[in-house]
Symmetry: C2
Subunit: 210 residues, 2 copies
Amino acid sequence: MLSSMTLEQFTQALAAATPTPGGGSASAHAGAMAAALIQMTCDLTIGREAYRAHDEAVRAIRARSEGLRRDLLALVDRDAQAYDEVVRALRLPKETDAEKQTRSEALERANLFAIETPLATADACAALMGMAAELASKGNINVVSDVGTAALLAYAGLRGGILTVRINLKGDAGGARVAQLRERVRRLEVDSERLREEALTGAYVRSNGR
Amino acid sequence: MLSSMTLEQFTQALAAATPTPGGGSASAHAGAMAAALIQMTCDLTIGREAYRAHDEAVRAIRARSEGLRRDLLALVDRDAQAYDEVVRALRLPKETDAEKQTRSEALERANLFAIETPLATADACAALMGMAAELASKGNINVVSDVGTAALLAYAGLRGGILTVRINLKGDAGGARVAQLRERVRRLEVDSERLREEALTGAYVRSNGR
């Protein structure tokens, strides 16, 4: 399990010239760190007199962040498993017609899993970017640099997840489902640029950035 | 030591409402993951016939990436230590003149350390962004999504490091040194946007992004 590795072991595993773990797992871990920083910011905001007006909004963000942190940690492992399944399917025998059929079905399932996994990472990170953008104005000002960092990590997780989706879509022949997925990632990309601007600008203004 | 924690423990520590670890350590870890993905890409490029023209350039990147990965892992720990020192200095007694003098000197040293540490993270990540931008055109096309992810993680580490520098500069009275530091982070920010564009565009074109 990658999530049970130390930071040092995990970066060594990423650096190794093996198929997994790769950018998909790293993206999910960036997202998990973003969720953690958002959770911390909420806990340092909730119940403080100066932020009472935002208490309800921040509590709602807090409740979602903990689940997203767990989901994204699970996606660190799942992304590697998904790619390993593609490799396994590619190695299935393909001599008889029955073998070809079995292999082709296994490959289709594995490819779909290898697309949906980083897409789940991208979706979770898009949600975190929205939460960071909101906290940039509503969170405790003393940790606004942590909120900005959370937005940046979620942005890396979102766009990194999308790059992994794109490369796994590449082998796909096309068709309506692929066109739909491409449109979905394109929208996520556009949203990510807007939210990055919003969260960074908010964090900069409040951290006295010049 | 944070770098000896598991990914799960580290994200839990980030999520805790304690002064450290925070965005500075998370930024350094994002950078360490970027360095790892760059190292992997180099090892999957060097010695391959299709990339022979770039062999020398990629070997040079490979040599630097391993050191940067180690440096950034060390910065995960050092960032937390630096902030802890600021907190310790703030708690020193300040009743007598001698105590005030000792405290003020300790605080100045600690503040400088708390600025220089995330600045070292930002510098290392800026170097990684340049390497990722170069690999986006020269690296093995099969792992171009990993190169793009590396650029995004290095971007998060760079801008996150700078946010931490900025918030630690905030308490500073100003003067020539602060003006110089502000100018330096401003240049890093401008460079980071250019390199992000360059690396992402390169990765997108080669991963057949539409």
